[in-house]
Amino acid sequence: MSKRWRAWKRIGVAMAASMALVLPLAACEGQLPTPTAATASKASPDLTEAQEKKIRTKILDTLTKADEARSADGYKAVMGGPQLEIRTSQATIAQKSGSMNKYATIPKDVAQVVIPTDDGWPRSVFTITTTTEDQQSQRLLVLDQNSARENYKLVAMARLFDGVSMPKFEVPTSGSQMGTAKDEGLVVTPTEALTQYADVLQNGSNSKYASTFADDMLRQRIATLTSTVQEGIARNNGTQSQTFTAVPDQMWIMRTADGGDLVVGRIDSVWTRQAGDGRESQPASDDEKILYNSDQYTSTMKVTYVNVVALYVPQSGDGAQVTAVGADRQPVKVEAL
């Protein structure tokens, strides 16, 4: 009896063992995969070109709508920095003049997109558009995302100077690195470039930094304008002064392919004209006139301008100069003192 029972037990054990061998082979989905940590050997661009286009198109569409409504209310959602002030001023002028300033036009097609690879915020995308329909020069747009919870906004636009040679950037698929205000190894740091350029604009060839900067259209135009106005004011013993103040807080920097920096920054300027001999000081342009929006003139007129400059700061080297490659300038406030 016990012998038989033992035999049965042995068979049972054998069957259990064979089942234990066979069952793991059955009904298996395979080894459970585990996510592999992405080995980011190279920083990836923050945006794809398609995303950049989507963002830019959204901004420009909003702009167009606000322009048509002749209202500056819509601008705030898509614009910031100096561009918001410039555009608001242009819209105010357009309300009176009936049409937007031709320099406010932003083409929808792009020639080049520079996308950063930086992980943190703020992030800036530099976009160079095509020429406008009326053959104005290309626009350099700066789209900036201040934080993760905000969206990209158009913070600066500079009209590139005719015939200027732009520095090269990395292709959008690999992305460029954003520069910082204190980048070393350049002719000057970006902050210094902006402040020194403000000094050059103010003092012209008399500036001690004049040799650091190559001659450019903005300098020439401001010098011409100043001398023209000076002629008229000097006739009635008046005085005029322009002060240029760099705003390093509103500066966007992108590293170029050759190791330099393209700096887009804001320079505020105040132009004070004081007429002599008891005369009234009047606006110097139609824009100023519309902005002033009054017939009550005094002897002194103070006009506040917002300037956007784009400076290419190359790596330091023999005879290397900072070159202004684009600018925009708009009176935003006209006061009679």
């Binding site: 066979v22 082979l25 059955a26 009904a27 298996c28 989905e29 395979g30 080894q31 459970l32 995969p33 585990t34 996510p35 592999t36 940590a37 992405a38 980011a40 990836s44 923050d46 794809t48 995303q51 989507k54 963002i55 992980d119 943190g120 915020w121 995302q145 201040n146 934080s147 993760a148 919870r149 905000e150 969206n151 990209y152």
Partner: protein
Amino acid sequence: MSPDQDVIDPLKISAEESESETNDSGENKDGEPKRAARPTRHAMIMRGIVTPIFGLLAVASVVLGVLNATIWKPSAEITATSTITGSRYIVTDPGVLPLLDQKVTLSVDPVSSKNEVCVALGASKDVAGWVASESSYTRISGLSSWTSLSTQTSKATGQVEATDSENAVEFKDSDMWSSVKCGNSDVSLTSTKTTDSTMAIIDLGRGAASTGAQVSMHWVRSQVPDFAMPFYLSGGLLAVVAVLCASVFAMPPHKRRKRVVEGKATIHTDLSFAERAEQGLIGARLPESVPARKHRRHAAHRRGGVAEADHEANGANGSGEQIGTPVIVDPASRNLVADQQAAAGRNAAEILLNGNDSAAGSSKAVTSAADAADSTEFATSARPVDEEATSVITSDELAAYFARLAQEVQQSNESADDTDEQTNEEGGNR
């Protein structure tokens, strides 16, 4: 060696060979039934135990292979679900979305449909940036099983303070998402060409952290693991092994080896190496058996070769004294005409040696010139005594022969009739 032996030896050898062959085959025929009746222990184990085991394993492998290819086939569609509560934002870890396939569908079904839930895809750094200002968020870190997701609650870095509400945009309006979908219930978003850096972020809405939502991820695996093929392969191999066990490996090792490798030694015991190792004989027996085997092999080799023939020739010489010189008569090599003439010559009572010469001469006259060998043979057959003398070389016999010869010559000189009788006698003996 005399020409006579030249004729006889090959015949003897061939006869011996055929005899030995028949002996061998006889042995084989005797041996085979013996083995069939009582197979060796080795063959019994191989055919009775090992072969069935391999056969069963082969069948089992094929059956398992078929099962794995059919009812146990890994399903191509994998859906993993988990109910997640406790935080407003749920993000997938990098690499979780493309875990099984580039195409993945992420579905979110909020427990309460009061809030709008949104699902978005974005780059890992963007998603991390979005949740950086949260106090905590939930991470989907992978699969805990094939049907459920594993989650972890993660503290945000907290370095970024929450953006002021003026500039902040709604989750669904963020520029950073490559795609976003919102709804009050069962929101599903499909991501194609998902890369490792693509992450999904789910916004359950403000205040919905406590109620939570059911999150499920669905993949259609393009590469389903094939478990059937290894089973088929091993089944095939096991079947081959089973056949080999029943045939080649069941053979006595010496038979198998003799056929396979000519130069290998044969073992005269029926024990294989393994068996002897089992019995603990290895080391004690092996050195002994090696020279023995060698000897055996040489002997066996010689049996079929020249040495064998030598041995047989010796034996024939030994027996030649007993039976008389010739055993085999070859009619083809016999010249009857010459025989008759020789007989006639002998009858003419000529001198023995001279008579041989004349007989040779007369035979040449009668037969063709090409039959030189035959005539020579006749000539040799005509003087068998001479031949005996050359083949038997013991000195006693030689001395006896000379004594007899001298006596015979003397007798033949005395009477021709006596010599005639003697020669007749000799011929009869042949």
